[in-house]
Symmetry: C2
Subunit: 344 residues, 2 copies
Amino acid sequence: MAGQRRLFARGFVYGVATASALAYSYLLSNEEEVVKPVPVDPLVKRGAEILKYGVPERGPAVHYLHNHVLAYDQARRTPLWVAEHINSQHLQGPANRKHSKFKPDPSVDPMFTAHNKDYWKSGWSRGHMAPAGDNKFSQEAMDETFLLSNIVPQNIDNNAGFWNRFEMYCRDLTSRFEDVYILSGPLYLPTQEDQQKVVKYPVIGENEVAVPTHLYKVVIAERFNTPTSIGAFIVPNQQIGFEQKLTDFQVPIEDLEKSSGFKFYPQLDRSKTKNLCEMDSCKLLDKKEFELYFIGRKLQSARTQERVDKVWKELEEKKLEPDQYLVELYAKKKVDLSAKQSEE
Amino acid sequence: MAGQRRLFARGFVYGVATASALAYSYLLSNEEEVVKPVPVDPLVKRGAEILKYGVPERGPAVHYLHNHVLAYDQARRTPLWVAEHINSQHLQGPANRKHSKFKPDPSVDPMFTAHNKDYWKSGWSRGHMAPAGDNKFSQEAMDETFLLSNIVPQNIDNNAGFWNRFEMYCRDLTSRFEDVYILSGPLYLPTQEDQQKVVKYPVIGENEVAVPTHLYKVVIAERFNTPTSIGAFIVPNQQIGFEQKLTDFQVPIEDLEKSSGFKFYPQLDRSKTKNLCEMDSCKLLDKKEFELYFIGRKLQSARTQERVDKVWKELEEKKLEPDQYLVELYAKKKVDLSAKQSEE
């Protein structure tokens, strides 16, 4: 029993001392661990006296959801980082965001959660860190991306525009790299103001949810179980037009780490990876492609022939040339809806 | 071996899931723990896949020093909280701050540490969270309070004035309550600006060390091993005059918790404690007492009769009536230095 207890205590000490990273490497490892007794450090012993009434709690180190994992910022009521792994299997399926609702994450302490009301009339949209669209395979997983632990106050044009195209690019990577690992989160960066550098950001609602100045992503593209390349990006939380490229926002990962206070992907040997934007294009959809994409989505969700025709007219109005995918989708929709209407 | 491994893994999972609080309760406990195997949660299993390249690292959950314990904010290069336990034994002894030097804490990753240079010419002083004066018993412990992991950029008048008097009050509590537990740290609170609430604070130096808008302390006074009373205080990081009372800055601890993102002293049953400022005075030294205190310090460190006389003259200049302590100290100094000078 004494031996058991020592082991148990040792697990604790490790869990505390090395953050949570080791826990997973242990869970993932198939090797047997050689366990030696570890003497209790006198500083830790004195620390236990100092912390007689407990260590200040900042919530779980990691929140586990069905297809994303996150650390939460109890002071700012937003995530600190949200981690994903996606491949083409996650991107197909029947899940639909119309069934999902934004709501507080029950795994966040009620004292520290954001509420939908905080966002209402704030002028800021509810921006997903793990995107809903990365979870088409499971309604449950998609629903969980709407938990407010995965949400930050985001400029609405950024959310629907540049950031959306960035997320689409990440999904598109799965067609060329099989597995893609993504970390996303908010940043609070200083700007020069008169003679000093100042961090400045609004907080919204009764719960004072922090509005980040920037958002970041770190993306690993993996092929044959080997991480081929990595890219880190810091995007201002504001409207960004089509004239700006994703590569305009690429930064050395160390710069992002220094700003965020996190060391990312500590178990990745970066020396064996290439620059994502050199290996792949880092090219987002341009204006025309983006508009065609939305017309495709509208076509797909059209329920009547009239709606199909109205959407198709948009192409003419916007002087857009439909691509082959749209032409085929249009033809298929017309046939399907015509059959459906004659059934009724 | 398989059994050992399961136990070890279980320690990990607990350490991760419940933050570090349990670790200490375990270390402090004398009871044997009944250890049962715990199945791995499928969400944790999927989480390990998502976190294949490791959990983002924010450094050790807790840094242990000889007489204080802290959590560090890698993004802001300041502590998040610093915990102390003091009694009268810690407040007496030969340690002297003239031997101590401000310097980076070697337990903080070099990428995330502040440097003295960040503070130079910034207009902000290096403000201790665990005060040097709480560690007279040990030069080593005092030296460690000068590690920059224990320091925040603090308004110099606040540092030398109100905050200093607050620290003196905390030390004085040990004469009435035996054991005192203190948590101190920085805050970044919003202010109303036009139609919105905004968090705004400078960052200083190359490493962009954050300048807190406020500082906090939570103080538990304990007698006969029983926590009698608790008080929480939020003090603006600016000059505060003698006309303001400590009680002006007392807040419900829940308000501080919501602002800071931490639940403090989770193992304290608050329902059994009283309000510190009702049980004790929460009265800081007034202007006259504070000036007499400094004259006492100057007298104590005087090395020549001339210096003693010069300090004594300050009393007249400032129209201060010396108290009995000062009168006796003056007499003793005159005798000691006279003996010393005749020896030379």
